[in-house]
Symmetry: C2
Subunit: 426 residues, 2 copies
């Protein structure tokens, strides 16, 4: 007996194979010695045509890093405008006390000085070891040398920035796609939407995210950017977990340079919807890249839930499955142990309380094979284990209670995760 579950449709455009930088941005990255590996650890993104519109979401961790505090304050002071982002990796500059705040401000001042703008027109991203200080004196000469003359336009700058964001990531993460939006003259303009992001540990976004930078050359007011960004983050990064730990430094920035010459994009308009869909496609691609490259991970685990009473409950149910250590370990062992999926669903919680799960209406499928539908279903364990031996394992759940659907992204739990996080100080 097999119970077929309807396919879960993700209605978003495909991202491109080669990430592209939108017009109006330049970037550079350099190794200043923060990372003991000698890798790129200081990145600068700057606009070329005046301030870009900006929106952001930040960590809900109650000990936010200095970079988060500075960026939040600057966005407020500037009314959602920015000329540059200073990105550091290898040092989180979190739990560093007042000295850490002074370090972050000194770098913002130096960058603003080089660009000839006010310091409130800069933002900051930081990732790395919590509790260590930034080597500001070693970093400042690099800003003098690189900004603004060595900033690189185009895809080279974007690639450098993506590379600089890496810490324990095994590969850099970027995505882009092109759309057409109406210009002020009514004729369509080509617009690029792109993003870079870092993973891959201390990832369990909650009303927030990890480090990601979304860029476009469309013309969009800050208020419209904020309207667009919130729901996208809810559906992508807030549905991502690697290890259940929410970092002190989580940040997503969305910057719009306006360099493509489009008419101002309004929220909810056809152009606004097209831009939002493109941004969500990029964000979803980055979240999936982050999950697939989770620390020690070998397998991207996607849980797609349908039949929820509402979206909040469907999202919570999907997150509970990909967050379960026991489900993650079973996926690693290619063990179709659906009982752990059922137990994880039974533990799903929203802010309002537990998600109701009715065992009589519940359906579960792993890698396309139905294993439970109101009762345990017979299935061939060896065949299913073989199907699970893939780079991505999709767990389909139908709660049988309504029309709401949601997905969540995670990864398997491996011995290598433990090795990486017990052998090294990260």
């Amino acid at each position: 007996m097999t119970v077929a579950l309807a396919p879960f449709v993700v209605d978003l455009p495909a991202v491109e194979a080669r990430p592209r930088m939108p017009a109006g941005f330049r970037a550079v990255a350099v190794a200043t010695g923060i990372k003991s590996s000698g890798g790129l650890d200081l990145g600068v993104l700057a606009t070329t045509g005046g301030a870009a519109s900006a929106a952001a979401t930040f960590t809900t961790n109650r000990l936010p890093a200095a970079s988060v505090q500075l960026s939040r304050a600057n966005l407020e002071r500037s009314g959602g405008r920015t000329c540059a982002v200073l990105s550091t990796s290898g040092c989180a500059n979190a739990a560093t006390g007042p000295a850490g705040d002074r370090d972050q401000a000194a770098l913002a001042d130096a960058l603003a000085d080089r660009l000839g703008v006010g310091p409130e027109l800069t933002l900051a991203l930081a990732t790395g070891l919590i509790g260590s200080r930034l080597p500001v004196d070693a970093m400042r000469p690099w800003l003098d040398r690189l900004v603004p003359d060595r900033l690189m336009p185009g895809d080279t700058g974007l690639a450098a920035l993506a590379e600089q964001l890496r810490t324990t990531d095994t590969r850099s993460k970027a995505a882009s796609l092109r759309i057409k939006l109406p210009g002020r003259d009514g004729r369509h303009r080509g617009v690029i939407v792109c993003g870079v992001a870092k993973g891959v540990g201390m990832i369990h976004p909650r009303m927030a995210t990890m480090l990601a930078l979304l860029l476009t050359d469309a013309t969009v007011e800050p208020a419209v950017l904020r309207t667009i960004l919130g729901p996208i983050v809810e559906r992508t990064w807030n549905q991502l977990t690697v290890d259940g730990d929410t970092s002190t430094n989580d940040t997503v920035f969305l910057l719009a340079s306006g360099s493509a010459g489009t008419a101002p994009v309004e929220a909810g308009s056809p152009a606004g919807q097209a831009l939002a869909r493109a941004l969500e496609a990029v964000a979803r691609s980055l979240a999936r890249q982050q999950a697939a490259d989770g620390e020690g991970a070998t397998t991207l685990v996607t849980c797609q839930v349908s039949g929820g009473r509402d979206t909040v409950e469907a999202r919570a149910a999907a997150r509970a499955v990909v967050a379960s250590s026991l489900v993650k370990a079973a996926i690693h062992g290619r063990d179709p142990n659906w009982g752990r999926i059922a137990a994880a669903l039974g533990n799903a919680h929203t802010g309002a309380g537990p998600v109701p799960v009715d065992p009589d209406r519940l359906t579960i499928a792993i890698a396309g094979v139905s294993v439970y539908a109101g009762e345990p279903l017979p299935f061939d364990r060896d065949v299913l284990a073989a199907r699970m031996d893939a780079p991505e394992v999709v767990i389909r759940v139908d709660l049988g209670q309504g029309e709401a659907a949601a997905e969540a992204f995670g990864c398997d739990l491996t011995e290598q995760y433990v090795v990486e996080n017990s052998t090294y100080t990260t």
Copy 2:
């Protein structure tokens, strides 16, 4: 510079080295073939002098096992009285649909029949693989053979029961202590308080627990037992986590046989307080045994939080630290990576929202060495790493915001946890 943190005082009596069975109970355990290892998998506890008073707490998982549903219903029907507990290991009898409910009821009927009591005077504990069925036909003849003639009084019965509860536990878990309570004639009577429990995976109690059985021969009405049990569970098992997964089968039973001939114990009376303290000492010992024997674990991790605004927040902060995968992995590597502790504290949540953490007032010590007090403190990493190389690592946190204190229990995260949970179907 060293900032001294005041010692965290646990004001409870010590448990005894050799666990003892209270008067009025007998037990037996046998291997019926549920466990493929051939280990003990069916246990029966029965009273010798009529029904005992009983109280219970159960899992909050929304897919509770058949054993949980049956026990909850029977306790309601009996008004908190019971004559026997049927305990099975190797099969959780969860997510087994209506057939699983019928299996559980058939075993309860058979046990009640052998004892000559109503089926509502039996309770059930079950642990093991979710989604598999109990071999009822193979088990029933064993009940006929063992009950009531082979039930063993005293410590032998208790040891058999503790052994039968094991699944992936590397050792059985039991604790007891003796106190004196006033008899009806005013002269004091010796009373035994004991408990057995199982670990060691899918443990993250939430308003509930895992499997544990607390027994005493004091005379206590069911309503008084319930008043005593709730706060104890809050301070012990609800502060325990192994892997963040809450099982479908979590159950704690507290049974009082009345066989010691004490006067009825009243809640809040000196006798009630003495009994509650003894029960909490046993519960705390069992919770610590469970944490120390967490799947794959090598180290008991205790987080003791002081300076909270209230107990609920202090408990949440302590739980957040021992639940963090990154903290657990760092402990495994003897890495004094206090930044992960700070990040975990920053993520602590109660049902009412995030726990406020003020970095200026926060103090953290690991294994007696202060590492953070409003700012990072210098310390000798090698010396601290050597101190962490112990069977228990205590993390002391002071939130600097009030007088409330709490502790939580967990274990390190090891490669072996992943091996156990990916290589075998458990």
